[in-house]
């Protein structure tokens, strides 16, 4: 028994050394918030860790004590344990205490939930900057309706000003997540969800889709750059003046399943489609999602086929585009 324990100990310590020497390990981004929303969540997490730590210590101490004290030994071979049925008082106590801990954790959870839906305290007097974040396979499209500009795979925001992200998707369901600034929220086609964010430090933050959505999922990242208001205004102006215009044909091309680099435009796709609208036009390209394996039928509405169908016509996978 002893030998095994020391073996276990040495394995663990080797792992620890390995861990600590693991040079450039990523920071725990959730524990290093750069805005009030992420801070609020971190406060809640820390509060939960205190109580959970307490539970762990008590239960594991009890476990070790009981298993050690009442273990079978050669010298207690004829010990006949008492056949106890239980004890109401003890059972009520260990029902009540977890219940109280649940309440202690519940109250701040509910208040945080309501807080996160609003402009963070201290920033209420400012008009939030509205940015539409549209997710598509496999890129992020950010539209600034007021500034009439659009970016792909990066988003610049002014520091210390609330930003209201209006989230939607052009296709699959995705999750918008900037861990340093706030928790995540889903983007869904023909739906709109909202997320308030404030960055209170200038800097570049990592954002990504965290909800699996097919082959290009891993690359669905974007950069959030929190700039001083002056820099932000300068950047907006520059984009308005220099960036090219986006057309609907270009846009339809970009919505095809692909990876794009950073792109910038001096107008927004909201001119012709808002994917959050329940009757929004669809830009679906099922044929472009073919992978190995047996091809199944696809069912596309003809009136929605804004793409040229010609490219697939000679290898019509899965037989007829029946029904139309």
């Amino acid at each position: 028994m002893k030998k095994r324990k020391s073996l276990l100990l040495s394995v663990v310590s080797v792992m620890l050394v390995f861990l600590l020497s693991g040079c450039e390990m990523a920071e725990l981004v959730v524990f290093n918030p750069k805005g009030p929303q992420a801070e609020k969540i971190l406060d809640l997490i820390n509060w939960s860790l205190v109580w959970i730590g307490l539970i762990m210590v008590v239960v594991i101490a009890l476990f070790v004590y009981i298993v050690w004290k009442y273990r079978a030994r050669p010298d207690n071979a004829d010990y006949e344990p008492p056949q106890e049925k239980g004890n109401h008082l003890v059972e009520i106590i260990w029902t009540a205490i977890p219940f109280i801990i649940v309440v202690i954790l519940m109250v701040p959870t509910v208040t945080t939930l309501f807080d996160l839906e609003e402009v963070p305290a201290g920033y209420e007097d400012q008009e939030p900057l509205v940015i539409h974040a549209t997710s598509a396979d496999w890129k992020w499209i950010f539209s600034y309706p007021e500034q009439n500009i659009e970016t792909i795979n990066y988003v610049n925001i002014p520091v210390n000003r609330p930003v209201l992200f209006k989230l939607t998707s052009a296709g699959t369901m995705q999750s918008f997540w900037i861990p340093a600034l706030s928790g995540q929220k889903y983007t869904m086609a023909k739906m709109e969800t909202e997320l308030y964010i404030v960055a209170d430090h200038e800097g570049s933050y990592f954002g990504r889709n965290s909800n699996f959505n097919g082959k290009g999922f891993k690359e669905m990242e974007f950069e959030v750059l929190a700039q001083s208001p002056q820099d932000f205004d300068k950047w907006v102006k520059e984009v308005q003046e220099k960036a090219p215009k986006l057309t609907e044909e270009m846009y339809a091309e970009k919505l095809k399943p692909s990876h794009l680099g950073r792109e910038t435009f001096s107008n927004t796709h909201l001119e012709w489609v808002d994917h959050a609208d329940h009757h929004a036009k669809e830009y679906l390209n099922p044929e472009l999602y073919r992978v190995h394996g047996y091809p199944g039928k696809t069912f596309t509405d003809e009136n929605n086929d804004i793409d040229n169908d010609t490219e697939n016509s000679d290898h019509h996978h899965g037989g007829d585009h029946s029904g139309h």
Binding site: V11, L44, I60, F63, E84, Q184, Y289, G319
Partner: protein
């Protein structure tokens, strides 16, 4: 109907080609072996068509072990792929298929069959029954589960694997974004297996309600049978939801309806809601029997009555009710608003209370006991601290506001592996070691068992503990690779090292089974552990096919413990033996499994005319069954007396 013959087999991937060759060789090997040793008839009449609940249980467990292997290989491939940054061992598509099949197989074709197998073996014995209520239906359940599993497993060599995750979220899983037939396998195979599971649920409920031994009131039932009852109730309530969801998904994918599509007003969140309305209760379907197993093991090897029996029963009833009321916590991030999220946070965290009650009751069962560190007890002991980690991180995830940072990350993945592996897999191991001698007449070796235990435990913690931190570093789940600059690799690499230990642990279990079959000492002792408490230990080892010569009278929770105390009650009076009515074997369930497999296969490939024709095979089987008038047979008294006399010897035999 347009069949593209050249596209049926997956080609062009060396890994898959290797599997295809291996599968063909294995099949040939099995056929040749059975023919050479002339075992076809034995296999058919003693096993495949057997309605004996113990044999069905064994078949379920064999299937579970095979699926554990398949799901485990999937897991190892994922760990190999993510061990180093920018790895090219698997591409994105292949990785997506691997994690999808890993999840589906581990939950539905490993955990469920293992537990249903263990229930099949132990529950009828524990309540003093001679079989389940509907023996032939029981066999049908097995064959449908098996057909579903085979259809699902076919996918990676024929037609293409499902690749939308085990949750198969729409619209991704719809034809708009996954136009191949891979996800048809998911919809159809799980439907077939699900029908089997639903039948098992009904079967177990009726068995427990109608076939308990005289004197066994519900509140005298062993805890494992109690958890079986509640689990079966959840199955009967939750599985129909999945049946409907899968049906709608099948319609969307094969016939072009718009329940969950982006186009024409489909609602993708409807799938998520329906899926988790089944999916969360499903978690408790697998975890409650595990709780039952631990309750039996902990009492046996502490030599003590289960502490707080009544509160344990209440706890599982409360857990089962709450399990139906928490499904939204799987998508707090959907944006339904703080009020809804608050409600579901409360119900979710409330589950911690009855689970805590169970934890403390187990601890207090051991208190003042005499704890023996046998293999089943070791797994039970390891379960307590590891499941505690799973439980408290579950509370953290249940706090909706905090979940916004954990959701869809490896923190979540670590959490549910910390609940499902200690909560289910450890329990399955404990149950295998515990009931093995009862079923086969020899124990699994304890020394190799210790190797299995330590390798698996070290491996498990090493694999999954780092994932909590990876999640907090911002690593999303289901990413097939990551960049070197992300700084994620040390923990990913550590986790991959752990997976090697896990695999070694599983290998040790397989070796243990092999070694014990060959060399372990045989026993006919009815209570080989010496401290057993429940009825299954009151009959011969291995158990005769009729289970009990005379159905025992029950006066207390621990029926066999009581018998041991009043030695007189345990002796058998041969005058009380009467002919025993038993059900006949049936080949029909095998046929039905095959019919479902064929029809399912055609449906998956969207060959509708062929599927429709083969659906008649299913109806033909049902009609055949309606005209069967087999009332079973009687085991003659002489045969029973001879069997009972042999194992009991003189001391347990009251000759008059």
């Amino acid at each position: 109907m347009d069949i593209k013959w050249d596209k049926i087999l997956i080609t062009g991937d060396p890994l898959i080609l290797g599997s295809q060759i291996a599968i063909v060789l294995t099949m040939v090997g099995i056929v040749v072996g059975l023919t050479y040793f002339k075992k076809w008839k034995y296999l058919w009449s003693e096993w495949l068509t057997s309605v004996d609940h113990k044999r069905i249980g064994i078949m379920y467990i064999i299937m579970g072990v095979l699926m554990f292997f398949r799901g485990g290989v999937d897991g190892l491939m994922m760990k190999a792929q993510t061990a180093v940054p920018e790895n090219t061992f698997l591409d994105a598509q292949h990785y997506n298929e691997v994690f999808t099949t890993h999840g589906v197989i581990m939950i539905l074709f490993m955990a469920m069959p293992m537990l249903i197998g263990i229930i099949n073996i132990a529950m009828p014995l524990q309540i003093g029954a001679r079989d389940v209520a509907f023996p032939q239906l029981n066999l049908l359940s097995f064959w449908l589960t098996f057909a579903g599993a085979m259809l699902f497993n076919l996918s990676f060599v024929v037609g293409g694997s499902p690749d939308a995750g085990w949750t198969s979220y729409f619209p991704l899983a719809g034809k708009e974004f996954t136009p191949g037939i891979g996800n048809n396998f998911y919809m159809v195979a799980l439907q077939i297996a699900g029908i089997g599971t639903l039948m098992s649920g009904i079967n177990f409920i009726v068995t427990i309600m109608k076939m308990r031994a005289p004197g066994m009131k519900l509140m005298r039932m062993p805890m494992f049978s109690w958890t079986t009852l509640i689990t079966s109730l959840i199955i009967v309530i939750a599985f129909p939801i999945f049946t409907v969801a899968l049906l709608l998904g099948t319609m969307d994918r094969i016939f072009g309806t718009h329940f969950f599509t982006v186009a024409d007003g489909g609602l993708d969140m409807l799938w998520a809601n329906l899926f988790w309305l089944w999916g969360h209760p499903e978690v408790y379907i697998v975890i409650l029997p595990a709780f039952g197993i631990y309750s039996e093991v902990v009492a046996t090897f502490s030599k003590k009555r289960l502490y707080g029996y009544t509160s344990m029963v209440m706890a599982i009833v409360v857990i089962s009710a709450l399990s139906m009321l928490v499904w939204v916590h799987h998508f707090y991030t959907m944006g339904v608003g703080p009020a809804v999220n608050s409600v579901f946070s409360i119900t979710t965290m409330a589950i911690a209370v009855p689970t805590g009650i169970k934890m403390f009751n187990w601890l207090f069962t051991m208190r003042k006991g005499r704890i023996e560190f046998t293999a089943p007890m070791m797994w039970t002991l390891a379960f307590i601290p590891t499941f505690l980690i799973g439980g408290v991180t579950g509370v953290m995830l249940g706090m909706a506001a905090a979940d916004f940072q954990y959701h869809n990350t490896l923190f979540l993945v670590a959490h549910f592996h910390y609940t499902l592996i200690p909560g289910v897999v450890y329990a399955v191991f404990a149950a295998l070691y515990y009931w093995w001698p009862k079923v086969f007449g020899f124990k699994l070796n304890e020394r190799i068992g210790k190797w299995h235990f330590w390798l698996f435990n070290i491996g498990f913690n090493l694999t999954f503990f780092p994932m909590f931190f990876l999640g907090l570093q911002g690593a999303a789940r289901r990413m097939y690779t990551y960049s070197e600059e992300s700084g994620l690799w040390p923990l990913y690499a550590l986790s991959a090292v752990g997976a090697i230990f896990l695999a070694a642990g599983f290998a040790a279990l397989c070796y243990n089974i092999y070694w014990s079959i060959r060399y372990e000492k045989r026993t006919t002792e009815n209570d080989p552990w010496g401290t057993a408490r429940t009825l299954e230990w009151a009959t011969a080892t291995p158990v005769p096919h009729y289970n009990f010569a005379v159905v025992p009278e029950v006066t207390d929770v621990d029926a066999y413990w009581e018998m041991k105390k009043n030695k007189d009650n345990f002796a058998l009076d041969p005058n009380k033996i009467k002919p025993i009515h038993m059900p006949s074997n049936s080949g029909l369930p095998v046929y039905m499994g095959a019919a479902f497999l064929i029809a399912g296969f055609f449906l998956v490939f969207e060959w509708i005319p062929l599927a429709a024709i083969s659906a008649f095979l299913i109806f033909a089987g049902m009609i055949k069954r309606s005209f069967e008038y087999d009332d079973g047979y009687y085991v003659p008294v002489e045969e029973i007396i001879e069997k009972e006399r042999t194992w009991r010897g003189d001391s347990k035999w009251k000759a008059k």
